[in-house]
């Protein structure tokens, strides 16, 4: 059974589309990067999944329970970090842990203290005296402290310094390795590349792709550089259809590749080349295309 299951999930705000016909299925242990431009419907999708919003149409279930009617059951094993985290000014980590213990009915003091130590958070500092990053750390602790089976994190790395980001990502990877599922909403592509094994992209409320990251990598364009034996070779050679040459400078060609590297290598094998370099797949470029249109092939 999938941890998260959404079928034709639709939410309208009056006439405006929040999300439309969203289908999503997350098996246990998935680390999903949830991407999309501003206003794409990521937050709406998350709020419907958490039972904050009632879907106009379609079905959403977490752990097999209906997201609207049984939200309180679902939330006992869900950790959530809102994108625009707001906390009570009087709240300290110590007080928050007391409240969580009372609300969740389980002792989280020790786990909370451990997390506070990992994230270098002072437990008696009230929110009103915290910086943006420190508030984010407290929000993360509140989302992680009960070791939920599903984590829904909206822009979790915002305001965190690189060292704490490393701690967070290591923690998330470790949780995913133990079978916990993570839905990770972000704008930062490098975070997705570092952390996620699957990517879903929303645009104008619709899911435009939902694929494994390695599949997307294979589809992404790569920057390539070719160095011919001499200027004559560089000038006379015809580029194949899968290679877009952006710059011809005597012996030197620079271009982008739209097929798997192995095909390009095969093509290069019988050519009078001195050197070839193939860059990493440019996911940012691919995502930008998804953001702009219905997909890279549209």
């Amino acid at each position: 059974m999938a941890v998260v299951e959404a079928e034709k999930l639709t939410k309208f705000y009056g006439r405006r589309i929040g999300i439309a016909d969203l289908n999503l299925s997350l098996p246990q242990g998935t680390l999903l990067g949830f991407l999309g431009p501003n206003g794409a419907g990521k937050t709406t999708a998350i709020r419907v999944l958490l039972g904050f919003l009632r879907a106009t149409r379609g079905r959403a279930a977490i752990f097999g329970w209906d997201c609207w009617r049984q939200a309180h059951r679902i939330l006992s094993d869900v950790g959530y970090l809102p994108g625009d985290l707001r906390l009570y000014p009087w709240l300290t980590a110590a007080r928050a842990l007391q409240i969580i213990r009372g609300a969740r009915g389980r002792d989280v003091q020790r786990a909370g203290r451990d997390l506070a130590e990992q994230f270098a958070l002072e437990t008696n500092l009230p929110v009103r005296h915290m910086s943006r990053g420190t508030r984010q750390k407290l929000g993360l602790i509140l989302a992680l402290v009960h070791r939920p089976m599903l984590l829904i994190l909206d822009e979790p790395a915002t305001g965190l310094d690189p060292l704490i980001q490393d701690v967070l990502f290591a923690h998330l990877r470790s949780l995913a390795g133990q079978g916990h599922t993570v839905l990770f909403s972000t704008h930062t592509l490098s975070e997705v590349e570092r952390l996620c094994d699957r990517v879903a992209i929303l645009r104008e409320g619709r899911l435009v792709t939902d694929e494994r990251l390695d599949v997307l990598r294979a589809r992404a364009r790569r920057n390539v550089t070719l160095l011919w034996r001499d200027d004559a070779d560089g000038g006379s050679m015809e580029a194949p259809s899968f290679l877009i040459v952006n710059e011809r400078n005597g012996r030197l060609w620079r271009g982008t590749l739209s097929v798997p590297a192995v095909e390009f290598v095969r093509w290069c094998a019988d050519k009078p080349l001195v050197d070839v370099s193939i860059g990493q797949p440019d996911l940012a470029d691919l995502f930008r295309e998804y953001y702009r249109s219905a997909g890279p092939n549209a």
Binding site: Y13, T43, R47, L50, G51, F52, L53, R54, A71, H72, R73, I74, L75, S76, V78, G79, Y80, P82, D84, L85, R86, L87, Y88, W90, L91, R95, Q98, I99, I100, R101, G102, A103, R104, G139, L142, A143
Partner: protein
């Protein structure tokens, strides 16, 4: 009801509630201390003027015939506009925090991410509200008693009469709280919820005031919450206004149930 959320509400409200408690006790004490000497100073004649009679009658929620007696002097601190403003102010401040205030400040996400039903979230808040209301009534009693003791004007009213007034005040607090919860349940902005609530209680006060000398207002006087809060009646009859108290509590409960239903069914959007 949820222990963690009760704790959260206590953390959030204790300081301001304490200020309301002390303020209300001080106002009650001051009024109970000052009003008898004020009446003595201005003399009988001024107090028998018709318009003064009407204003006093409006505040006390009953028509005054004859002269001012100690029963009226005893009742005044409980109906003084400052005292009412403090009681209503606390109810409005407290009950607009959830859900309107939480949505407005964006903290509702944290609250609703806990595994607690929305009705239970509201109930946990309402329990602390009810306890605070009790505290407010008790502080009124303490303040009033202290003022009387300091002024040396103990009229010899039995304790159960003062307790009857305080309980009636508490029931009024519950009625107003229930209504404010309902207004809060449909608002996304705390300012709007406070504005509407203040407008409703002011209208209620005005209707009760005008009903004493304006017939059209008299016809709708039953809509005013003050129509069911009459300390003078309790002092005169030496009996608790049980009917009024039941009605105020029922209205409060009815509004609260509506608030819970609205809160349970509504979408919680980002502020």
């Amino acid at each position: 009801m949820n222990r963690g959320l009760i704790l959260k509400t206590l953390y959030e409200t204790w300081a301001a509630t304490l200020v309301f408690f002390l303020g209300f006790a001080a106002v009650e004490g001051l009024l109970a201390f000052a009003i008898p000497s004020l009446f003595a100073e201005y003399g009988e004649q001024f107090l028998q003027l018709k318009f003064v009679h009407r204003i006093a009658g409006s505040l006390l929620g009953t028509e005054i015939s004859g002269t001012f007696g100690p029963d009226m002097i005893q009742s005044f601190p409980w109906v003084h506009p400052i005292a009412l403003a403090l009681v209503w102010g606390h109810a409005i401040w407290f009950c607009t925090r959830l859900p309107a205030g939480e949505i407005d400040h964006g903290t509702i996400d944290l609250l609703l991410s806990l595994p607690v039903r929305r009705v239970s979230v509201l109930l946990s808040d309402a329990v602390v509200c009810m306890v605070s209301g009790t505290g407010l009534a008790v502080m009124g009693l303490i303040g009033n008693g202290s003022g009387n003791w300091l002024a040396n004007t103990a009229s010899g009213e039995p304790m159960h009469v003062s307790l009857g007034i305080a309980t009636n005040l508490y029931c009024m607090y519950l009625g107003v709280s229930g209504m404010v919860y309902m207004i809060s349940a449909v608002c996304d902005r705390r300012g709007r919820a406070v504005g509407v609530s203040v407008a409703v209680v002011l209208a209620s006060f005005l209707v009760n005031f005008l009903a004493q000398f304006w017939t059209p207002a008299k016809a709708v006087g039953f809509l005013s919450v003050l129509d069911y809060y009459r300390p003078l009646q309790v002092v005169r009859d030496h009996a608790w206004a049980v009917g009024d108290m039941i009605l105020l509590t029922s209205v409060g409960l009815g509004f609260w149930i509506c608030a819970a239903l609205l809160f349970r069914r509504r979408d919680i959007r980002t502020a």
